[in-house]
Structures are given as C-alpha cells and as structure tokens.
Assembly symmetry: C2
Homo-oligomer: 141 residues x 2
DNA sequence: GAAATTTAGTTGTATAATACAAATATGTAG
DNA sequence: CTACATATTTGTATTATACAACTAAATTTC
C-alpha cells in the first residue's frame, strides 16, 4: 500500500504543477478555474451567496466576493437581494453565464480528451470515478 | 466517453481547488509544492541547473532560480560550478535536504492515506497508475 | 583574434490570487 | 435601546509567477 501512496502523493504534486502551468500559459476559454467552479456550482446547485460559495470551495469570503463581483461585472451572474435579510444576496447565473460555462466546459473536455487520447474508455471512466471519490473524501481532511 | 471526460474535467478543477486550499491552510511539512518537486527531482535525477529544472516543471527560469536559491539558503541544496562552463551551476541535494524531503514525503503520504482510508488497495493502485499516466501524457498538451 | 551574438543565471518589476483585517450595514438578543 | 452578531465589501499584505533587463561567460563570425 505504501508503494501506491507514494505514487499518489508524488503524482498529485506533479499534476498540480502541470495543470497550473498549463492554465497560466494557454488560458482555457475566458474563465479561470475559480470562475468556472463558481458558475458550475450555481448552474447546478442554484443561486447562492458568497458565504455559501466560500464554504464550498474552502476559500475566504473576501476572495469569493471579488470573484463573484467580477463575474457579475462580466454579465455572467446577477445579484438577487435576499427578501428576508437586507444584508444578504444570492448570485444567479445569467443566460450569458450559462453559455460561457458551456463553452468553457467543452474546451476543458477537449483538453482532457487530448491528454487521454490513447486511453481505453474504461480507463477514462475509472479515472473520473476515482478523482471524484478522492475529492469527496478530501473535503474533510 | 463524453460522460467520462465531463467528470474528469470537472473533478480535475475541483481537485486543484481542494489541494491548493489545503496547502495554504495546513502547510505540509516545511516544503511547498515547488520546493518539494525540486528536491525530489534532484534526489532522483541527480544534480541539475535551473534551466533544466525549469524545463521539467514548465516554469520560468527566473522562478526556479529564486526557488533554488531559497532552498540553498535553507541548506537543502548546494551549488556546484560547472567545470566546463563558467556561467553554469548545478544544484545538488544536501543530507539535510534528503532528510527534509523524506519527512515531507511521509507527511504527504499520510495525507493521501487518510483521504483514501476507505479505498481498496486496488483502487489506490489504479488511481496512482492513472494519475501518473495522465501526467505523462499532459507534458505535451 | 576582436566584435557580435548567444546562453546560463540572477535581479528588477508587474500581475494575479489569495488571506486577514477593517469597515459598513443589517439583523437579533438582552 | 443598546450591545452583539452576521453578510458582504473594501483595504492591505503576501506569494507565486512571468517577463524584461542585466551580468558574465561561451560561441560564432568576419
């Protein structure tokens, strides 16, 4: 088992390096990773406030506040005042936001497709499943 | 296949978020990811200059130069002048560097172990293999 | 072989993502 | 009503990074 753990920890470090390197050089679509995840989360989970989003991404509220404001500015999100709490807002995704999210998703899938072009379908399937499982488990570690 | 690619691209984005978040909050050992990868590379692949290292990590030479200088300052690396080229140096790892690298590796493995504590040995094995395969393929994408 | 060009590395500067702290405005409890 | 708590925004500092300018040494060109 230690053998596998050794591979996993090293390759995770390498993966982060590879992907962050890639994303600084060749921008994927118009969205950076944070923007992509925020739009995805809202598209899937519905309107949410910065506090909720920050919790989900384990980011500081101030960071998400700026990111959401930027997305609002670009017309991908709009603010809905909470009718029961004058301090609170939720962000909802716009049509343009959905369009951009989908374009970006296609670009990201394309990249994943290129990288895994010599893989079997089963390998891709398994990789996705294990990544998801890892992420799920990594929430509270 | 699109289904798998969709999972992969999303979970990759989430993974980066999780891990970078983790590493800003709970520092693993004394080494950040760059430092860890540089020490690992030199420990495994032998002494190397900043240009070589920068190529391997797809980072700018100036970035690696600073990182290597920091590691030298901490006593984890030392500089060896290239006898055939007065401009060039290679960095070699010190005993202290090896010690620190191993401690860090243990800490990283421990974290990977925690995250995958409910996995089967086979899943860990497969995950490591596919991560490695993905990284290998991602070099030239 | 001197001048021009290239190369290895360092240092200066700018940018972007982030956290933490302070500020604002609204809500809730005593 | 006053004090405290909460949701969000804004100010400031840090860090990792890239790009550009620089230094010194090597190589090429004439």
């Amino acid at each position: 088992m230690d053998q596998s753990l050794e591979v996993i920890e090293l390759e995770l470090a390498v993966l982060i390096r590879r992907i962050t390197s890639y994303s600084t050089h060749k921008k994927i679509g118009k969205l950076d990773r944070s923007a992509y995840l925020i739009l995805h989360q809202i598209a899937v989970g519905g309107a949410a406030g910065v506090k909720t989003l920050a919790g989900e991404f384990q980011l500081d509220i101030s960071t998400v506040s700026r990111q959401a404001a930027a997305l609002e500015h670009k017309g991908y999100l709009y603010k809905i005042p909470d009718p029961t709490d004058g301090r609170a807002y939720t962000f909802q995704i716009t049509e343009l936001g959905i369009k951009e999210l989908n374009e970006d998703k296609q670009a990201r899938m394309k990249r994943a497709k290129e990288v895994t072009k010599n893989w079997t379908d089963e390998e891709r399937e398994t990789f996705g499943t294990l990544l998801k499982k890892f992420n799920q488990a990594a929430i509270d570690v």
